[in-house]
Symmetry: C2
Subunit: 135 residues, 2 copies
DNA sequence: TTTGCTGCAAACCTTTTGCACCTAT
DNA sequence: ATAGGTGCAAAAGGTTTGCAGCAAA
């Protein structure tokens, strides 16, 4: 028996997407990443960017968040579980570490559920944007 | 001074959407709700369903969650803040009450953020689906 | 040589919008 | 009569997919 899938090939496009994603501080959309790749001179199809990004997200190498009607991606170097604090204005992101996730599991099992995943996302304004927007 | 917006009118369509939404145990998509309204004999435009659902969500009368690439809505009778435990297989939903949300605010301000909103969503399998899927 | 990957464009889907008409108030 | 609400169809996005050609292994 072999549960191995097809062998993955190494391509210029894969590298480019990964590298460009690594240069992003915060979450970027596929469209935006594609735009940056273009202006960086890497001619890569939008479809490929989507395919790569989805693959990265699925394998856990990238985090994703939905914001403004689009999926945002971010490289995830350490695969430890973490959550996000996201500025609604500029997109600045900080990873946060919930002090205790046990209660989630407890709550789940209290309702007869098994917990396979969960998300904690905090939205707000970062310091700079608070000033900028005069709030 | 009057911050009052335009006066809201009472219509057959508003009633129908609200009533149909009330009959849903769990989250439904706009499309699905529209489908149900149709088979219930209420001829209501899809656009109107979207407009109503969005209005309800904005006013806090409905919760929303994003699942499977679409926005899901659920009537929210008590407007207290709460979160969800969602079965990934059948969509069954349970409202959960986080024991302490103060740490979220603390974490936010520790990073210079103001917190405007947050989401906690727990995904897993409910008891029935665990058996059904033989997990 | 094989076959996974890519690019392109078309297809998809959900959601939003413009606008003329309808109808509570 | 006034103006908010509705329906329809078109438009708008973002994202996926079919397929022929390209290029790793």
């Amino acid at each position: 028996m072999s549960t191995n899938g097809p062998v993955s090939r190494h391509t210029r496009q894969k590298d480019a997407v990964l590298q460009q994603l690594r240069e992003c501080e915060d979450f970027v959309s596929a469209q935006e990443l594609h735009r940056r790749l273009e202006s960086a001179g890497s001619g890569i199809g939008l479809a490929t960017v989507y395919r790569r990004l989805n693959a990265l997200a699925q394998s856990g190498s990238a985090d994703t968040v939905r914001l403004d009607g689009q999926q945002m991606f971010r490289i995830c170097e350490d695969s430890r579980h973490h959550h996000h604090l996201i500025c609604e204005n500029c997109g600045k992101t900080v990873e946060i570490e919930p002090p205790d996730e046990d209660w989630l599991r407890k709550i789940a099992s209290a309702h007869g559920f098994t917990m396979s995943s969960h998300t904690v996302e905090v939205f707000g304004l970062c310091g700079e944007c608070q000033k900028k927007l005069g709030k």
